[in-house]
Symmetry: none
Subunit: 240 residues, 4 copies
Amino acid sequence: MADAGDSSSSSSSSSMEKQFEGFLQQLEQSGNLRDRIRAVAAEIESSTRLMHSCLLLVHQSRPIPEVAARAEAQIDVLKGLYRRLAEILLELPGQYYRYHGDWRTETQTAISLIAFLHWLQTENLLEHSEVEQKLGLDSSEFGLDIEDYLIGICFMSNELPRYVVNQVTTGDYDCPRKVLAFLTDLHASFRMLNLRNDFLRKKFDGMKYDLRRVEEVYYDVKIRGLAPTGDSTGDQGTQA
Amino acid sequence: MADAGDSSSSSSSSSMEKQFEGFLQQLEQSGNLRDRIRAVAAEIESSTRLMHSCLLLVHQSRPIPEVAARAEAQIDVLKGLYRRLAEILLELPGQYYRYHGDWRTETQTAISLIAFLHWLQTENLLEHSEVEQKLGLDSSEFGLDIEDYLIGICFMSNELPRYVVNQVTTGDYDCPRKVLAFLTDLHASFRMLNLRNDFLRKKFDGMKYDLRRVEEVYYDVKIRGLAPTGDSTGDQGTQA
Amino acid sequence: MADAGDSSSSSSSSSMEKQFEGFLQQLEQSGNLRDRIRAVAAEIESSTRLMHSCLLLVHQSRPIPEVAARAEAQIDVLKGLYRRLAEILLELPGQYYRYHGDWRTETQTAISLIAFLHWLQTENLLEHSEVEQKLGLDSSEFGLDIEDYLIGICFMSNELPRYVVNQVTTGDYDCPRKVLAFLTDLHASFRMLNLRNDFLRKKFDGMKYDLRRVEEVYYDVKIRGLAPTGDSTGDQGTQA
Amino acid sequence: MADAGDSSSSSSSSSMEKQFEGFLQQLEQSGNLRDRIRAVAAEIESSTRLMHSCLLLVHQSRPIPEVAARAEAQIDVLKGLYRRLAEILLELPGQYYRYHGDWRTETQTAISLIAFLHWLQTENLLEHSEVEQKLGLDSSEFGLDIEDYLIGICFMSNELPRYVVNQVTTGDYDCPRKVLAFLTDLHASFRMLNLRNDFLRKKFDGMKYDLRRVEEVYYDVKIRGLAPTGDSTGDQGTQA
């Protein structure tokens, strides 16, 4: 291969080398950026894990204000982490979506927990602009992707049947009605969207099982006359 | 569920609805954008298919200028298509990477063909800046992603063993030496890059099989004294 | 190849042969050791199968003392088998983890059964040091790997929903409350651990389904006023 | 679930918590150890990549002493890395095989390169004890697993056919005979071993293809009378 090797010293070869030296630098640069992003994403994951542990206590009927206080501390931690993420990405304008995959799963989980906490406190849906505000995100610079928000809301919905079951167990018979009203509205709102065959669509398709389970629990308390409203037609009513 | 439904008319519910109306618009907008991008990507795919058909004729030892003329016509078509793609994406600054997945496979194929044609004409590697120029891409607005370029070059490498085999069949015994020199340099250049465990790394790992196959063909012509250099001592030599 | 073969008689070749004779001995030795370990592991598997058969009778509401007596007989068998395993491994110090894969699955199953039996008898979690004691394991020589213990506990958790369902069927309405209290504590304890993305993490992730199932059963007995506490207001209450 | 939650404050529950706090520490400890091991393994991988790049130049018929000098520099780097690995593992005696999977692939690659270099320099097989010496490994503390050594040797064998082909191409017609003699002995030595159905057996099974390819190249040079020994019976001989 001696003669083949000879051409290695040609100018075209050194031009090739020069080009790849440039690539090396650029790949190192984007690799380092990705490492920094992943480090922050790992901290977001860690913070959401703690927040989740706090929120799980509502299933053991711990008072919401107590649970909320501990969970909200993590929102402040998350706010700081998203500020760091935004700072990293502002270094390279227009590359938000290039690295989006490196933090989106963690963000969807964060949204689901913050929205669940918000529902516990207000019985309302946490809106997109409200999450951005809570996390200190600025849409013009580093915003919250709408699909990530919607997927997070679907994850929150998955938590509701369990909450209803545990609330009824501890004697809160009005909870199913409230959750059902909320979930019915939420499901109807999602139905307005013309979702494509993607991950969000699949997650939304799962929401109907949450809805059905809550309907069943509501049915159980109504049929037994346990629901607090006077207009019940359950067991108690028939015996009255 | 009558009482549950009642709460739908509450203000919180209408606020939810209003938010989802906004999402509907935004999802429609990004969905339409994606449809337009995919339509252009389909045309790019169609054009590269035609270009590939032209280039395949080199395996039947048709003269390169004839093959090149027909293939180059497609480069002009591609240039027009990338202009359309750039125009669509310039409507939404900073979203290049959001939709990148919708045209990157087609682009990698286009790069591989244009680079193969360029090698046939010049025996040199088509550089990243040269492809951008040929396709009328402007890095500051809508450029060619480096990884897409590099993956395209790996695909081009996959075409070379077949070309060498067919050239030797038609009596071009100097082709293996030239391709081997080029591929050896290219492989060494790629090795400079510190590739991560991703798609590009996997494609590059395949390049060594191209290199070995070309080495084997070069071996075949050398050992038979068919290589055009004077120093051969193979079959021809023994018969002299 | 005659001349090639000639060099086989060189000194380098006989040195190569000598080395491989050493390898042959060492591979035979470790192969034999592995065979002996696997033979004991097969007996452990056989003993846990018998123990499992005994324990399954609790799902048919056979009295726990009767079930326990027969299951405990197998713990003695297991103790003897682990002594044999320890003796084999003490022949080659520092190779515990070399052959660990050959008995760990069987050990995890054994842990799950012994811990389930212990829970039936005491309503407490069998601790790591207690299992070691029961099986005659000495941590300084041949101990129980912590991950194997934890995986075994996850397997035990998988058995609890079925137990609760069958107990309620036979009229033991207090069982869900007790299992739920235990499983809630266990789940919270596992959450303290910062589990990596490995097999143990995956098994633990499954524990939440056990927890939910038990919550559902507890819900069922509570809403029907079947739970033994006086504050129920379910079906029984309305009929009172 | 209030009553269920009550038991959380029981002594059994706090004992459970205490046990898991111990696990948390031990899992953190082994997790940190694994991170440190993986960091060194990544550096070993990086060093072998550089060494491989150097060694690849022999396929372009660069003189062996020049190639060797650059490759040997990496052996010193590797020696330092294995010292670090040994130091980490000596902290926890008897856990070599617990973390073995975290560095074995990198080690097998290192062995294959060092053994190939050694063959280029001496035409002999690098023995197990010689590699340990080169890498500063001490069998009594942190040695080289025999299977890793043997797998590395199989990988080295995979490199030989390509080397032979490229050497013949550049006119070194004696190379096939020498490689064939070596590979024949090596293959025969491996055949002595009673390999089980595992990874090593699979790798060894692949060695016969290397042997066949080298036999074919040797046949090619012999039949064409290109082999340097006088006893050839190829093309030249028949025409003499």
